[in-house]
Subunit: 389 residues, 2 copies
């Protein structure tokens, strides 16, 4: 397979953007990425878009063509493909774009992720999100995504002694980072006590343990190695792309305290890159819930199983820690516009590796990891990025 | 890129299958394809699924993981990816599977297509289908997919003298073929007069000009060239895979009588295979409406522009004609379960090239073409298949 670089990144602000449309968000992100890459519209060979549920949120399918059309790429008739894997849609789209370039089929590919969630009410949002879980065996019987993660949290606390306070510290840490991110939906800090006393959603998880449903879009430009010198965008290398699946319903999983798909995707990615978890300098992980980040840092191999809660307590995953996690603010503080999240993670890693992360910049960022999860864990992607030469 | 073969095919019966679920349909098709290929579940490296609107039809997203789970592939945690491009979802999924193998990322990939459409009522079906068109600029104002194709038909009749009878003959021909297809939803012949007097839907198109919304699933097994000898499935080569897009809304197109996406996808595919339209021995084209087939045989280069209606009148596209088109019965007689259609087309071509098409078998089938369209033409895929030798 050919080597592939990210040469441009762009994103909209994330948030409850009542005045913005699906179309305007993805176009803004795409144009920013194209400008950052220093390419023209004519250079784009193909387009991939990750979006979970535009059919339910805005009554629109056929999202690939829509985005190509809206971006003014119609005259070239480029292939435009939407992929969906619940809220791992962005990560899976990134992988398809990567394969399209690695295969030799295309040289320059734009990969976007987008979701416009706030055109429907809260109850309908919850119902749509439950379509990421097993409708027939979970959602029909009243399970929601928060309730599924609440069961994981309960079990993790029971098995490993993870505490309510440790979970809350994930939220506090990520808001500390997000407060420095101008694109974050919630760019402010939260106090430990605020998390611990926020309204209960599904015990033991509270409102401030959860990433909120927002609008947003993000895009990256991928480029084949031999074309990188043709453009001005500062390149970052995709060292590896791993993707894996697991049973849709929680009750069929081997474990309630690990995501098998994360473990498998990480193993594939580490093998492809020829590295181990110890070589990773920073990571964006899928903290849809605080317990998600606790499990992720374990499943990705940054800490021993069961130590995820203690790691955050000890500061291992802060910007100054040994493995900074979610320097962007994560899903918690940046907000979680489903399809856009996986791309936004890759953008944060790219900016950190470029040394362009501003007030959030960490030191010695040489290899970064982006980890995206669909629903309660039936899909996971792990991408490893590194410096170009 | 590596050479890729189709080594196994399988499909469910298509139809209004009230007693069947989304899960049971795709599992039936997938297992049939796996059996035909002579592979085991352990041989499967990745899964792709094309489905247009499971979110709206059955309240379920996260379709890749769902299918992997239902098929019992969970222990291996293989990557499972759903792609969507309206009713070109199957063709686009086939292309992603093809790229995944061609890139060297995977050796054996199962690609499925599925739609369960009859769990919602007719009006909701029409509304969901309109999500393949431009919601903001077409559907919100009352346009339906039939009304868009009706405009194309009207213009084609005006510009080229295409007649109402010629359109009807597409339906008659495809039902003659479909009557020989045991998996077809409507395996019976229709008389010319029946088409001409069937209820008007959107002038000049009538009920028997239109492919009906049904349930169904189809699957193929793709295999890297060097692994083909490991399995017993009779291989057919994927000579080329072309995909293209166009504006979502009809009013932005350069023409009302051609699909630019079809023309572009065909040009890409012919170039990749190093052949011309004249080398194609048979084709499955996207006859969602009778006018669709008339335009397709022109846009694919089988006849001159404007001659599509006259071609069917002269018998050019019958099983005994110079370019047999839709020997399976096409979308019209086989039925059109959106995401499944593009895969079912590839299956018909595979069976014809293998000499396994039974009563529908055409002579001298060496190169076949499968043409899948999304909505009113904003996405098109063209795949060329040939003998393995």
């Amino acid at each position: 397979m050919r080597e592939v670089a990210i040469i441009g990144v762009g994103m909209s602000k994330f948030g409850e953007l009542w005045e913005r449309s699906f179309r305007s968000l993805i176009t803004e992100a795409g144009l920013a990425a194209v400008k950052d890459a220093g390419i023209g519209g004519d250079d784009i060979d193909a387009l991939y878009v990750g979006s979970m549920s535009a059919g339910r949120f805005i009554g629109q399918e056929h999202i690939g063509a829509l985005v190509a059309d809206e971006a003014g790429l119609t005259p070239a008739h480029i292939p435009a493909t939407r992929v969906e894997a619940a809220d791992a849609s962005g990560g899976v789209a990134l992988r398809q774009g990567y394969l399209a370039v690695a295969s030799g089929a295309h040289d320059v590919v734009v990969v976007g992720g987008v979701e416009k969630m706030t055109d429907v009410g809260d109850v309908e949002q919850t119902n749509i999100l439950a379509a990421s879980a097993d409708r027939e065996w979970e959602a029909f019987f009243g399970a929601t995504v928060p309730s599924l993660y609440a069961m994981m949290a309960t079990r993790h606390m029971h098995d490993y002694g993870t505490t309510r306070e440790q979970l809350a510290r994930v939220s506090v840490k990520n808001h500390e980072n997000g407060a420095l991110n101008p694109n974050a939906a919630y760019p402010f800090t939260v106090k430990l006590d605020s998390v611990l006393t926020s309204p209960l959603v599904a015990s033991p998880l509270r409102v401030l343990d959860m990433a909120a449903s927002v609008d947003g879009a993000a895009a990256v430009v991928l480029c084949a190695a031999d074309r990188v010198p043709s453009f001005t965008g500062k390149p970052v290398k995709i060292l590896a792309s791993g993707q894996a699946s697991d049973s849709l319903a929680l009750h069929d999983r081997a474990s309630f305290t690990s995501l098998g798909a994360t473990q498998r995707a990480a193993a594939l990615a580490y093998r492809q890159a020829g590295i181990t978890a110890r070589d990773v300098n920073l990571a964006e992980v899928h903290d849809a819930f605080t317990i998600s980040e606790v499990m992720a840092v374990e499943d990705l191999g940054f800490v021993e199983k069961g130590q995820g809660g203690f790691a955050v307590e000890k500061g291992v995953t802060t910007r100054a820690g040994s493995v900074p996690v979610n320097t962007s603010g994560g899903l918690k503080a940046r907000g979680h516009p489903l399809g856009a999240t996986g791309i936004a993670q890759a953008i944060e890693i790219t900016q950190q590796l470029r040394g362009n992360a501003g007030a959030r910049q960490v030191r010695n960022a040489r290899i970064g990891l982006a980890h995206n999860v669909g629903g309660s864990g039936a899909t996971a992607t792990v991408h490893l990025l590194g410096g170009w030469e």
